[in-house]
């Protein structure tokens, strides 16, 4: 029995000591990245922050930032922006996020936890737009202002969300379609019912609203462009997207097919299987991966298939979304003709500025962010490069 008590006590002690040393390590790692990109976002900062903040100064506010996860480098970039803004404004921001973008439950816990800490404001990138509603209500009751970034929460209780800093995902998806279309226009025009052409899209599991919107934005725009070109279009694959589009025809009658593949889980291996399935079909002329994971799935699939090419005559046209090293390389070496990027860094950055403004008692408003098209030629451009995180 004694031994048992001892074991329990030991384990308790273990928690404490682990917690103590673990905490230090985590903190260090984060501050490391803070200053490195300090010069990148200044133009935007001037636009927004106004003259009285130009000196930086020490405001002493503390904010809680909750991102979707740290899984992809996208969020690392966002945190970078946050820390950059913090440095400039002299405020503190504590970032946290679940292990996986699908851990809705964990994120809720984190938000509630953040509210308990009674910060001056909360910056939130919601994993799921519906389940956070209750927590936002709590924040409202506790009088803590919330700024949503990356993803807006449509059903938020009146007055809880002060401003939203987010990409218009439907428009961003459309950007991908608009840039893809001219390249493959010839092929689409040549398509007949007997000699169909196929455009693929790989979407991460259609759970998060913004990826859904992105996917739909792409499909609708492509549909519109093809229909304008006088072609009959069918959407096949995942039933959600098939049912969500209008103005399509049955697969047999169509000249252009848009095929949507959705992997069962957000893993690269399943994403690449889906991409492979579409790319190995003979009539496929183009493919779009609608976020970092799925775009990398397309690249992985191509490692075997070797079908991606910059010229429609030589192979399949690839378009991606977001950034990350593999995707940037794919663009450089001509596998992708380009990608759409959001500006996570700017979103994080603006989020802190907005929060500080609220704390200062200023009026704030929503800040829509654009999706930028980037390709081999403009990757180095000043307004693009900072958003192309590794």
């Amino acid at each position: 029995m004694k031994k048992k008590v001892l074991a329990v006590l030991l384990s308790a002690a273990m928690v404490m000591s682990l917690a103590a040393c673990g905490g230090g390590g985590g903190g260090d790692a984060k501050t490391d990245d803070g200053g490195s990109a300090a010069d990148s976002g200044t133009t935007a900062a001037d636009d927004n922050a106004g003259s009285d903040d130009s000196a930086g100064g020490d405001k002493g506010y503390s904010f809680e930032i909750i991102v979707k996860s740290f899984q992809s480098t996208y969020w690392q970039a966002a945190v970078q922006g946050i820390e950059q803004a913090c440095g400039e404004l002299g405020v503190k921001a504590n970032s946290n996020g679940p292990a996986n973008e699908s851990d809705i439950a964990d994120q809720i816990t984190m938000i509630n936890d953040a509210i308990e800490k009674k910060p001056d404001g909360i910056g939130l990138a919601a994993c799921d737009t519906k389940s956070v509603v209750d927590s936002l209500q709590k924040a409202l009751e506790a009088g803590i202002p919330v700024v949503c970034f990356d993803t807006g929460v449509d059903e938020a209780p009146e007055g809880s969300v002060y401003a939203t800093v987010a990409t218009d995902n439907e428009a961003a998806g459309a950007v991908a379609a608009e840039n893809m279309f001219p390249v493959i226009e010839e092929k689409i025009k040549a398509a007949t019912t007997d000699k169909k052409v196929r455009i693929g899209e790989v979407n991460q599991d259609a759970t998060a609203l913004n990826i859904q919107q992105r996917g739909k934005g792409f499909i609708n725009k492509m549909l519109e462009l093809c229909t304008d070109a006088g072609k009959k279009v069918a959407v096949v694959g995942n039933e959600y997207y098939v049912n969500a589009t209008e103005g399509t025809v049955a697969e047999g009658e169509a000249e252009v097919i848009i095929e949507v593949g959705v992997p069962a889980q957000t893993t690269v291996d399943l994403a690449s299987t889906e991409a492979q399935k579409i790319m190995s079909k003979d009539d496929t002329i183009a493919i779009f991966g609608s976020n970092q994971t799925t775009a990398e799935g397309v690249i992985t699939a191509n490692q075997t298939l070797n079908k991606l090419a910059a010229d429609p005559a030589e192979g399949i046209i690839g378009v991606g979304f977001d950034a990350g090293t593999p995707q940037k390389e794919a663009i450089t070496n001509g596998q992708f003709i380009g990608s759409v990027t959001q500006s996570p860094l700017m979103m994080g950055y603006e989020c802190i500025y907005t929060l500080t403004d609220i704390a200062d008692g200023k009026d704030v408003s929503d800040l829509p962010m654009d999706g930028y098209w980037y390709n081999k030629d403009n990757m180095e451009a000043e307004d693009i490069a900072p958003n192309l995180y590794d």
Binding site: G22, G25, G26, A29, K30, D32, S69, F70, Q71, S72, T73, Q76, G97, P98, A99, N100, D103, G237, N238, E239, G261, V262, P263, A264, Q265, T266, T267, V268, D269, L270, S272, T273, E274, Q276, K277, S280, K281, D282, Q292, T293, E296, I299, T300, A301, Q303, T304, L305, N306, G324, T325, P326, E329, N333, D390
Partner: protein, 323 residues
């Protein structure tokens, strides 16, 4: 005479699984023209490497009558740690790979100590390690996703271990050669060395093995070390095949590997199993993963089928035993 019968039975299971693999290939090829192409063949292999490696490793704990649930989250963790060192700390790629494998081995030792020395139920002990490894990688790499160097970059040559792309664009899946070599080596280890013999013996009757003067704890631990080592290697294979390692993923990978081993005839109660069987069993699982989308089924069906195949595989044993 009786010996021949026993031998035949063992072969029978492997032959059956091989038959299933062939039947699946034939079926998918008939149903989907795009399936019967060389690239698809390569991609099935691509998807199989890390699962094969995990399965080869986990066969050993399974044979002792235990299980190792930590390999899935483990391999992601190891790949993260190795990749983090390479990408962010400028460590040479070789060292990164070595670290990846060594951390795997280390966790294997940890599992071994829990199960063999401290005598914890393997299921529970490795479940805990599964949680620990899930957190370990992200914690050490400040939660970042890591992209190992791509095939085109200077350090990306390691990816060619598994898939060699010639200048003309022909893809040669040399990974499969390594897998076969490993299958031969591990078959030898299992069937013709002390380690394998004692691991089989432990699975058959641990107490009797102990009384025979065998250092049971050591060999029991060895099974988990092999499992950890192969999980480390699976981490390398995973990093070589896929572009980016995302922290927090990996839960559930182990089930593909364990499922493959079980389908291949490893007994869930220990004592029985062959490496060749495991190897073939993995292909049943992988073909299902890659093949089902090709024949027009939405991705989710593969999970339902995997479940059914697993139960079917075990039922074959149950029915056989009844006879």
């Amino acid at each position: 005479m009786a010996n021949k019968k026993a031998f035949g039975k063992l072969k029978g299971r492997e032959a059956m699984v091989l038959g299933i693999v062939i039947a699946m290939v034939v079926l998918f090829s008939i149903l989907s023209p795009t399936f019967r192409s060389y690239p698809t063949f390569v991609s099935v292999l691509d998807n199989s490497y890390y699962i094969t490696l995990m399965a080869l490793g986990v066969t050993f704990p399974l044979i002792t009558g235990g299980v190792d649930l930590s390999i899935g989250t483990g391999l992601v963790s190891y790949a993260l740690i190795g990749g983090y060192l390479v990408v962010h700390k400028g460590v040479p790629i070789g060292v990164g790979i070595l670290v990846c494998i060594l951390v795997g081995l280390l966790i294997g030792v940890f599992n071994g100590v829990l199960v063999a020395v401290m005598d914890l139920p393997p299921f529970l002990a490795t479940l805990c390690t599964c949680m620990i490894t899930r957190g370990l990688g992200p914690a050490l790499c400040s939660s970042m996703g890591v992209s190992w160097p791509s095939a085109l970059s200077e350090q990306g040559a390691f990816r060619k271990i598994f898939k060699f792309t010639s200048a003309s664009g022909t893809v040669i899946p040399i990974g499969i050669v390594f897998m076969i070599v490993l299958v031969v080596i591990m078959s030898f280890v299992l069937d013709h060395t002390r380690v394998g013999r004692y691991i089989l013996a432990i699975g058959s009757n641990k107490e009797a093995t102990r009384l025979a003067g065998v250092n049971v704890k050591f060999y029991h631990m060895m099974a988990y070390m092999i499992s950890g080592l192969f999980a480390g290697m699976a981490g390398v294979a995973y990093a070589a095949t896929y572009a980016t390692i995302y922290p927090g993923s990996g839960a559930g990978f182990e089930l593909d590997a364990i499922g493959g081993a079980i389908v291949g005839g490893v007994s869930a109660s220990g004592g029985v199993g062959t490496i060749l069987g495991t190897f073939l069993g993995v292909f049943v699982i992988c073909l299902m993963k890659v093949g089902l989308p090709f024949i027009g089924l939405q991705a989710n069906w593969q999970q339902i089928f995997t479940g059914i195949v697993l139960i079917a595989a075990v039922l074959v044993d149950v029915v056989k035993k009844k006879k």
